[in-house]
């Protein structure tokens, strides 16, 4: 991670205005979004958008030609620009040929992408942004920090200062008054500008129509008042049919701002009547630039083409815990947030994006709300793989991933050596330092000590049921094996009560996720094979784990990694079919715990949804049902599904980001007044447990499997 990005992160973290604004917004947004979608089935709507956009992207060039033909038949001139340079040259030529001195612009991300304002200014043309947010940042000499709310990072006082400077007045920070000042100032510009530049939210091939969505009305003025209109449109905006616009409109305002529809939706087909510069009414000089600039390349990329389904609603930013902390500027000056990282890689700079992908903690909240159904974290991971492939990996890391992680004995003895040398740092049974990839995780949180004896060495003590209905292979995973072996023992107790025998195949390796997350696909694949083989040999009916990250890897990623290997594809599928997360497995096989015969022991418990369990695996109600079945009082968190900030090695790489996310979680937990925080993920346990311990909190941290085991007899 470069110092440049680190410095930007620190700056953002120290900006109280920014954090306050983003934090409040993150909370409010969810409510208004839910309200706007009330009575609608979001999953159905986004299925349609994803299908329509994907279908359009596949024939992007063909649709561009069709659009050109139809819009030109209606009097517009359409230019298909291969590159940013081509687009810039065309627009500049139009402006110069018509001796344009001032341009009014309504918001266009595509024009930000090619830095159009700079070019115009260099050629003596004033470009006035007319979207209020864009105008504010233009006056401040900044770049947008959010796709929908470009000036979300600024306060009313700052705005008043910039407006006062611009208008030579002394304005107070009164928002309605500031808006009025903008109205007056910009109205003048609208009336005198020689050219209007807009973007578009959709371009309909079958009719040659542009659709533009705004709230302020500036796009209507931009496209109506000046005698020339240039629309700069990224080719991913092309849709096949007019009705496709309806599908986009069903989601875009709801997801972007929680509105059922924006104040204005403008649909322009061809050249329309306008006031010419001599005051008479004539036909507008209408230009449409359809810009490729990396879009067809993205379309031809089998993994990344889904990013073209993006409708730029920015809801992925609004729910992203990292974005809420650092805002947009950390991500660069055009497209921000997770999706911004991906777009930047194709439209602007691959190397920049290569660095930025590190910011994603992989919580998957964005994926859940994306109207384009884009697997944003998946694409970010893929970007990481490609960066690693391009830049290679340091030898020490290669050794760790290829040699140490697959070999449990070696791994554990290295951990032991490491923890011994750090003995002085162990106090109250909590480690202050851990070696290898667990190192450095001690900022603001204590870590549990390494287990004296790993789970693998305690197996002989595990009790077995008298009569076994099924043989269950237990997958430990690093954290359970070496840090929380008691979770394995608890799982054994529960399974025994279900009359199932638990076995622990010793050849099992790490689930491979740490390797995968570092872009080491080969190491991940190697571990997939090793694990599948180990469990096949053990001849088990099912494979369970108490770590949802491991479950996802075993159940989904192994299949993906091995799907092109004929010798392994079927084996991976067969293996995956029988893999279950422990909590889901128990709920399913015991009628939500009712058949377990749990003793009812009072305990007030709150529950934290692990990102992987909730969003990767869709296990939401099961742990809650089990908790209630055990006679516990469940006190829900205000934001149960928000990330705890762990994200595997993320908390090592970005302690400064991980920490505030955890702090918010701890506050939420404390506010419930519960005695126990339960979760179903050892990673979350380590993060939250360490955080609570560091704050000397008396709240217990328990895995759901422990709550169950507490209520069973051996």
């Amino acid at each position: 991670m470069s110092n440049r990005i680190r410095a930007k992160i620190n700056k953002a973290l120290n900006d109280d205005n920014l954090r306050g604004a983003l934090g409040r917004f993150a909370n409010d947004y969810l409510g208004s979004r839910a309200k706007a979608y009330k009575g609608r089935n979001f999953e159905d709507l986004r299925d349609i958008i994803a299908e329509r956009k994907n279908c359009s992207a596949q024939k992007m060039e063909e649709l561009a030609q069709q659009f050109k033909k139809n819009a030109e038949a209606r009097g517009a001139k359409v230019f298909i620009a291969k590159t940013a340079e081509d687009a810039k040259k065309y627009i500049l030529d139009v402006a110069l040929a018509n001796k344009v001195e001032m341009v009014v612009k309504s918001k266009s991300m595509a024009s930000e992408e090619i830095h159009l304002n700079k070019l115009l200014q260099e050629n003596g043309i004033t470009a006035a942004e007319t979207d209020l947010g864009e105008w504010i940042i233009q006056l401040a000499g900044q770049t947008p920090s959010h796709m929908v709310m470009p000036a979300i990072h600024m306060t009313r006082d700052e705005v008043a200062d910039y407006f006062s400077k611009e208008t030579n007045q002394n304005l107070s920070p009164d928002i309605p008054q500031l808006v009025q000042v903008a109205r007056q100032e910009l109205r003048e510009k609208f009336l005198t500008a020689g050219m209007g530049i807009s973007g578009a939210n959709a371009a309909v091939a079958e009719t040659g129509t542009l659709a533009i969505v705004t709230n302020e009305g500036n796009a209507r003025l931009t496209t109506t008042l000046p005698p020339i209109h240039v629309a700069l449109v990224g080719m991913e905006k092309l849709v096949e049919k007019f009705t496709d616009v309806g599908s986009v409109l069903e989601c875009l305002p709801r997801s972007a701002t929680g509105q059922q529809l924006t104040s204005y939706v403008t649909m322009i087909t061809g050249a329309n009547p306008t006031n010419l510069s001599d005051g008479t009414v004539g036909t507008k000089d209408m230009h449409i630039v359809l810009m490729d600039n990396g879009r067809t390349q993205m379309r031809d990329d089998e993994k990344f083409n889904q990013a073209l389904q993006c409708i730029r609603c920015a809801s992925c930013l609004n729910v992203c815990p990292i974005f809420a902390l650092v805002g947009g500027h950390v991500y660069g000056d055009v497209y921000t947030g997770g999706i911004g990282t991906i777009l930047t890689a194709f439209f602007n700079d691959f190397d920049d994006a290569g660095e930025l992908q590190n910011l994603c903690i992989g919580c998957e909240r964005c994926k859940e709300v994306c109207p384009g159904k884009i697997d944003i974290p998946g694409l970010i991971l893929e970007l990481r793989n490609r960066v690693t492939a391009k830049q290679g990996m340091p030898t020490s890391q290669k050794f760790l991933l290829n040699t140490v992680l697959p070999n449990r004995k070696l791994f554990h003895s290295m951990l032991k050596v490491g923890s011994k040398t750090q003995k002085p740092f162990v106090s109250d049974n909590k480690i202050r330092h851990l070696p290898l990839f667990l190192a450095g995780m001690t900022e603001g949180r204590s870590l549990p000590a390494l287990a004296e004896t790993p789970l693998r060495d305690q197996l002989y003590r595990l009790a077995k049921p008298k009569k076994s209905k099924a043989k269950i292979g237990f997958f430990g995973g690093c954290l359970v094996d070496f840090v929380y072996p008691e979770l394995g023992k608890a799982a054994n107790k529960v399974l025994k009560n279900m009359d199932m025998e638990m076995v622990y195949p010793l050849e099992q390796a790490c689930c491979g996720v740490p390797a995968g997350h570092l872009g080491a696909t080969d190491a991940h694949r190697k571990m997939a094979k090793q694990n599948i083989e180990a469990f096949e040999k053990a001849n088990v009916d099912y494979v369970v784990t108490v770590c949802p990250t491991c479950t996802s890897s075993l159940k989904h990623e192994f299949v993906e990694l091995l799907k092109d290997d004929p010798a392994w594809a079927d084996r991976a599928e067969k293996f995956a079919d029988n893999v279950f997360d422990f909590v889901e497995f128990v709920a399913k096989n015991t009628n939500d715990g009712k058949d377990l015969g749990l003793k009812s022991i009072k305990e007030s418990v709150t529950y934290h949804d692990s990102c992987h369990l909730r969003r990767h695996l869709g296990v939401i109600e099961e742990p809650r049902n089990l908790i209630k079945e055990g006679g516990m009082e469940l006190k829900e968190l205000q934001w149960p599904d928000r990330c705890c900030g762990f994200g595997g090695s993320y908390s090592i790489r970005y302690p400064e980001l991980s920490q505030p996310i955890m702090d918010a979680k701890l506050e939420d937990i404390t506010n419930t007044g519960a005695e126990t925080l339960s979760t179903a993920c050892p990673g979350c346990m380590m993060q939250i447990g360490g955080g609570l311990d560091n704050k000397k909190s008396s709240i217990n941290v328990k895995h759901v499997v422990e709550l169950l085991a507490d209520r069973l007899t051996d």
């Binding site: 409040r24 709310m149 500031l178 808006v179 009336l191 302020e216 007019f242 309806g246």
Partner: protein
């Protein structure tokens, strides 16, 4: 036959939720007198109107003692307090209006003045946005050059996310539904 009473009520609730004012009158005579009242209440001094069958009739029956302009609207709409235009469709669920505004005058009067008064037929109400889009889709081979959906007055939340009504477009939107526009070409 659609239940226009129900659709109207739905529209009214939705449009008021986004800060529009909604009225319903029997015919264009009533629309004219309502317009006079609205102008008076506001203290408006100048009205710019985009000529159309309903707008013309409404102006004929209104009793306006202020400056009324229907031509040279680039100039006249800019300093008018009220803009008057006819809209083509109303979307009940979300309180939106739809307009073919290829006619430049319709755009100028609905954007530049402080208040936009929109006249629309009650029987143009449709249930939801997709229904409205489907209707336009039927005429896509001859799609109007400039169309708009208008939902409430113009708004922004760009400063500290505080909702502020009236940025570049009108600060007020008043919608008059006319049940029986009578005898005009739409009938």
């Amino acid at each position: 036959m659609a239940d226009f009473d129900k659709l109207f009520e739905q529209f009214k609730t939705a449009a008021e939720a986004v800060s529009a004012q909604v009225y319903r009158v029997k015919d264009l005579n009533e629309a004219g007198s309502l317009l006079s009242t609205l102008v008076e209440e506001d203290g408006a001094k100048k009205l710019a109107a985009a000529s159309s069958p309903m707008v013309d009739k409404c102006l004929n029956t209104a009793n306006l003692n202020i400056e009324v302009k229907t031509d040279d609207l680039r100039k006249n709409a800019e300093d008018a307090d009220f803009g008057l235009s006819e809209l083509d469709m109303a979307v009940a669920e979300i309180g939106s209006l739809q307009q073919d505004c290829t006619d430049l005058n319709k755009r100028l009067v609905s954007m530049l003045p402080h208040t936009h008064v929109a006249i629309v037929r009650t029987d143009s109400l449709v249930a939801n946005l997709l229904e409205a889009m489907a209707k336009i889709d039927e005429i896509k081979d001859n799609i109007p050059g400039y169309m708009a959906f208008i939902t409430g007055p113009s708004r922004t939340a760009d400063i500290e996310r505080v909702l502020t009504i009236g940025v570049h477009g009108p600060v007020k939107l008043k919608v008059i539904f006319v049940d029986n526009p009578g005898g005009d070409s739409n009938e």
